[in-house]
């Protein structure tokens, strides 16, 4: 079976449960020996999907506000972004919207966006109605699911949702290193580089 590597980056406010979701996702799955992790910051998990294997290369990001401007380095080349908010914090949903906007503007073309409304075990103190999230996700064509890292709810489903959205294989276009094309050649696919 063909293995397909998919880079996934995690975005969202600090404390919404990004790390918890990934840890839960990979926890009972030991391919650590084959592809070592970088602490809880970089982890991998391979799951079957149709007649392919999807190997998720999951990149954590620092949630602190001061590091926001570094995020483009992390999401460049990503096949998917998991954007997490805390259903008990309206603010975190607001931040999520900002991430979506940034990805639309500067992220890789065709990036799959998956929205996770985490801590659904605490729905009694919920601030963000599920419907808001669903409507929003629909408007941007994103996968959405409410999860609980604590109780392992919908974690697998979140990533399955991503797998389903990944378009069929086609040769990856390599970015142009800022070369100048003279002879009416196509302009560089990625107009700008962030570094």
């Amino acid at each position: 079976m063909a293995i397909r590597e998919l880079k996934v980056c995690l975005l969202g406010d600090t404390g919404v449960g990004k790390s918890s979701i990934v840890c839960r996702f990979v926890q009972d799955h030991f391919d650590h020996n084959i592809s070592p992790t970088i602490g809880a910051s970089f982890m991998t998990k391979t799951v079957p999907c149709g007649n392919e294997l999807h190997k998720f290369l999951i990149w954590d990001t620092a949630g602190q506000e001061r590091f926001h401007s570094l995020a483009p380095m992390y999401y460049r080349g990503s096949a998917a972004a998991v954007i997490v908010y805390d259903i008990t914090k309206q603010d975190s949903f607001h931040t999520l919207k900002k991430w979506v906007k940034e990805l639309k503007e500067h992220g890789p073309e065709n990036i799959v966006m998956a929205i996770a409304g985490n801590k659904c075990d605490l729905s009694d103190i919920r601030e963000v109605p599920l419907k808001d999230a669903k409507d929003y996700a629909e408007s941007i064509g994103a996968v959405v699911v409410e999860t609980s890292a604590k109780h392992a709810i919908n974690i697998e489903e979140l990533f399955q949702g991503i797998s389903r959205q990944i378009p069929p294989l086609d040769p990856l276009e390599k970015g142009n290193n800022g070369a100048i094309c003279m002879h009416g050649g196509k302009p560089p696919a990625q107009a700008r580089r962030c570094c």
Partner: protein, 947 residues
């Protein structure tokens, strides 16, 4: 106790000596005095021959006297002197030598009829002399013509003496008894004297025949052919022989030459340069000489056999330069003359070699082996030849019009023309080092102008038919500019990039050395001009300037009468300021000069060699001379065989098959790439040359980084393919086939194996380009680093929002008057030191491993502090990493990061190495930020507190 035979021998020697003395005084001395008239043309020669004969006669007397003395000594002291003390027995060889010399001198006189000439005059005088001599030479008739008597008197004593010696020695042997120790000695002497008799007889017969021949020939022919030492060995009048296609009516075989007489024409062929080849036809054989080839046909097989035998023997004898002993064809020589010989010869036939002299080894009538060829016009070739043509390594000098000036080619040759690697030092002091084909510069090569030339240049690139053609780099140091691009017929033609000393560089299309149409010009302040301009960098015609701030000026430009620039154009200030890093990093040439075709010619000789199956004889031509010297070196060390030439390629092909495991393969490739005698090593060295020619010096321009980095990767790909090419040949030699390689495996080998091995060879130039490209960011980063370095460890950790529970306060060892809050460069020291090692390696993979170890050090420190294993999430890791990076203070970190990223194996994309590199890069970015650089840090920090 001395035998009767010895007594008789003694008497014999006495008598012989007396006879020689009488002949000497009565005939030889008067002959010298009464020599032929000086007025006659050949008088000098006669006199010389007579003097020679006189000297030989004196030597004969001398040696006879010594022989006599040895006999007398034994007579008196038979006990102390054994038989071997007799000169006749113990030193028979010496006696033989003297006798043979005398015979030579005598027959030479005979052949040119010295005695007849002398006897023409003073016959009266001679009759008187004969009368005196008569009683001393018993048994000799003094009747007949004077010349005959003279000749006989000089010959008879020797003939008689030899006969008697043999008889007496036979008796001596019989008297000794079978077991006598001297038995063998005497037997040897008998054989020797017997042989000497045969030699004498043959010499006399040849002399008589030769004399008769000269007598029978016209004086013109005689003058052309006759020399005193030449002897006739065979004459077609005796055993009929005809030559075709030369149609000679007479064939004469002398001891030094074969002569064909054809009407008035005389063809003389030096026997040393004459080869006999058998023919199918039983009456015919073939003769090869440097410039003629003909058949000799006899009437019958016997006649053919006689002639062929005689010619072959005569050739052998002539090559030895010494008469066969005792007769022609006898002696130690092999039955056939050797096919390979070493002789000098001057060609006379019209053509390439007319008047040229070849001195050296021959085989079957053609220069073959080592030799020197000199033309009368001063051209000169020293080197190897094969079947008459220059082949293999050779040095060729061509004189120029001016005196003392030569074009000197040190090159490999193939069938008469230069082919393969060579160096030419021209009379003009230009120097070319590179490949030739069919005698012309072709393929890849470097041409340097004379050091003192008014416009010095160096061209590194491709050649076709002696002209710059294809991709090449030319540096014009007087203009301070370097052209990198396409050539045709010695002119810039096609796409090219020009970099200048001043730092300005441009890209454009050239035709016949001139730029045509619009180009792109990048100036040092990062503004860009797109449009038409001249070689002197004056804007002319339509164009558009994009300033670093994003403003554009579009319209038409021209240079005015003065030095100013005139323009009618529109200034657009509406554009947003562009990302400075993108304007700063514009790259020239990428895409326009496709990397796959750039240095094709470097690989062509290699692939020609590989496709030919790596023949040993082509190896030197591919590698140049190093191989020769290194092989000579090896040869002297292990007294190798001359067949080594084939062993060279066999050896490395054999080596290729050995390593299978990745580590062994890596080692093997590493050795091959650094070996002077290995084709891969040669390729890499040539590529280094091209890389330096392009990117060192003026070429160290940030706008060429793109060209350079893709070139390095391409070289790794090509070298891997080259390795596979050699492997295929090696397997073919074993009758096996090379398994195909899918694209994925290939990429893996190229990046995982080959690139790390070749990168060091290009690293210095390449890194310089990265350095220049990232100069600006690296500057900001340095400011950031130095501003962070003022903070003590704990304050920096706090500043970077590292959770307090992760602070490794245990690492702080304090002296009594220190406060922990003021300690610097102690926390995470192991990680910091580890990260610093990143600059000590070249291999991107090793650099990434350093980075990974740095992470592990951080994790280990954190786990130690917490007292449990801790997997760091990014929220914690990133601040810690910023801390470690700022403490490691690595110079040019931006250049490092980008070089690693560009050279990194693409399989790592998205993986943990990529993640770590991205993390490092984000720290680098973070440190450049304004608030870090300019101390605009969270308010509760007052810097004055810290100092």
């Amino acid at each position: 106790m001395c035998s009767l035979e010895e007594m008789t021998l003694l008497r014999l020697e006495e008598a012989f000596l007396a006879m020689l003395a009488h002949v000497g005084s009565s005939i030889l001395q008067p002959l010298l005095l009464a020599g032929p008239e000086h007025s006659e043309p050949w008088a000098r020669e006669c006199l010389c021959l007579l003097q020679q004969l006189h000297r030989s006669s004196e030597q004969l007397q001398e040696v006879t006297e010594q022989s006599l003395q040895s006999l007398q000594k034994r007579l008196h002291q038979p006990c102390t002197a054994g038989l071997e003390s007799l000169l006749m027995l113990g030193s028979a060889d010496r006696i033989l030598q003297v006798y043979m010399e005398y015979i030579e001198s005598y027959t030479s006189c005979m052949v040119v009829q010295v005695f007849q000439q002398v006897a023409k005059r003073k016959s009266r005088y001679w009759r008187v002399q004969f009368g005196l001599l008569q009683k001393h030479l018993p048994g000799m008739s003094f009747e007949g013509p004077v010349d005959a008597v003279l000749a006989q008197a000089l010959r008879q004593p020797l003939v008689q003496h030899l006969q008697q010696c043999v008889l007496l020695l036979l008796q001596l042997r019989d008297g000794l008894g079978k077991s006598h120790p001297a038995q063998e000695l005497v037997t040897q002497a008998i054989t020797l004297y017997g042989n000497l008799q045969s030699f004498l007889q043959q010499a006399l017969d040849q002399a008589t025949a030769t004399q008769a021949l000269w007598h029978s020939l016209s004086s013109r022919l005689k003058d052309a052919l006759c020399t005193p030492t030449r002897r006739l060995l065979q004459d077609s009048q005796d055993v009929p022989m005809t030559a075709t296609p030369l149609r000679a009516e007479r064939v004469l075989l002398f001891d030094d030459a074969l002569v064909l007489l054809q009407g008035p024409a005389v063809h003389t062929f030096d026997l040393r340069l004459l080869w006999v080849r058998p023919r199918r036809h039983e009456c015919t054989f073939c003769v090869l000489t440097p410039e003629e080839e003909f058949s000799l046909s006899a009437r019958d097989p016997l006649g053919r056999a006689v002639w062929q035998w005689k010619v072959s023997r005569a050739v052998s004898q002539a090559l030895r330069g010494k008469k066969d002993f005792p007769v022609l064809g006898a002696g130690p020589a092999p039955s056939e003359p050797p096919a390979c010989r070493s002789v000098a010869y001057t060609f006379s036939a019209e053509g390439r070699l007319c008047q040229a002299t070849y001195e050296g080894e021959w085989c079957l009538a053609r220069p073959h082996g080592k030799g020197t060829l000199k033309w009368p016009d001063g051209r000169h070739h020293v080197g190897n030849f094969r079947w008459g043509l220059e082949h293999g390594f050779g040095i060729y000098l061509v004189p120029k019009a001016t005196e003392d000036q030569f074009d000197c080619y040190k090159c490999h040759w193939q069938e008469g023309s230069m082919c393969g690697y060579g160096i030419c030092e021209y009379g003009s002091e230009e120097v070319y080092k590179g490949y030739f084909r069919a005698g012309l510069r072709h393929g890849f090569g470097v041409l340097d102008s004379a050091p003192q030339a008014p416009q010095p240049f160096r061209y590194t690139g491709h050649w076709e038919q002696d002209q710059r053609s294809g991709y090449g780099v030319q540096e014009d140091s007087s203009r301070g500019e370097r052209y990198i691009g396409e050539w045709q017929a010695n002119q810039r033609h096609g796409l090219g990039v020009v970099v200048t000393q001043a730092g300005v560089c441009y890209q454009g299309t050239f035709q016949a050395d001139k730029m045509v149409g619009p180009g792109i010009l990048l100036s040092e302040d990062d503004s860009m001009y797109e449009g038409t301009f001249t070689r002197d960098l004056t804007f002319e015609g339509k164009g558009k300037i994009t300033f670093p701030n994003g403003f554009t000026l579009e319209g038409s430009f021209s240079s005015g009468a003065g030095r100013g620039l005139y323009t009618q154009s529109v200034l657009d200030t509406a554009a947003l300021p562009p990302d400075p890093s993108s304007t700063h990093k514009r790259q020239l040439g990428v895409g326009a000069l496709p990397v796959e075709s750039r240095w094709r010619g470097v690989y062509t000789p290699f692939w020609d060699f590989a496709h030919a199956g790596c023949p040993g004889e082509l190896q030197e031509a591919l590698l140049g001379f190093q191989v020769q010297s290194s092989r000579e070196l090896r040869r002297s060390q292990e007294r190798g065989s001359p067949e080594d030439a084939a062993g060279g390629t066999e050896a490395f092909l054999e080596d290729l098959l050995r390593p299978r495991q990745p580590a062994a393969l890596r080692r093997h490739l590493g050795e091959a790439l650094s070996a002077a005698w290995h084709p891969l090593g040669k390729l890499l060295r040539t590529l280094m040359l091209t890389f330096q020619a392009t990117y060192a010096g003026i070429g160290a321009n940030k706008h060429l980084q793109g060209l350079a980095q893709e070139e390095v990767k391409q070289h790794a790909r090509e070298l891997w393919a080259a390795y596979r090419g050699l492997l295929q040949v090696a397997l073919q030699h074993k009758g096996q086939a090379l398994e195909d390689e899918d694209a994925e495996t290939r990429d893996q080998r190229v990046h995982g194996l080959m690139l790390p091995l070749v990168l060091p060879s290009f690293y210095s130039e390449l890194f310089t380009l990265y350095l220049l490209l990232h100069e600006r960011e690296d500057g900001l980063y340095s400011q950031g680093i130095s501003s962070l370095s003022v903070f003590p460890d704990t304050k920096l950790l706090e500043l970077l929002d590292v959770h307090k529970h992760l602070w490794p306060l245990k690492d702080l060892r304090l002296t009594s008057n220190q406060r922990s809050s003021l300690v610097r460069d102690k926390c995470f020291l192991s990680a910091t030191e580890c990260l610093q090692k990143i600059i000590t390696t070249v291999d991107p993979r090793e650099k990434l491993e350093v980075l990974e170890k740095t992470y592990l050090e951080i994790e280990a420190t954190v786990s130690r502090v917490l007292g449990r294993e801790h997997k760091l999430p990014m929220d914690d890791l990133l601040p810690l990493l910023v801390y470690v990076v700022s403490r490691a203070r690595i110079q040019h970190l931006g250049a490092e990061i980008h070089l690693i990223r560009d050279m990194m194996d693409p399989v790592h994309t998205g993986g943990r190495y990529d993640f770590l590199l991205t993390a490092l890069e984000s720290c680098y970015q973070h440190i450049q930020k304004e608030d870090v650089r300019l101390h605009r840090l969270p308010g509760h920090w007052d810097l004055r507190d810290l100092r």
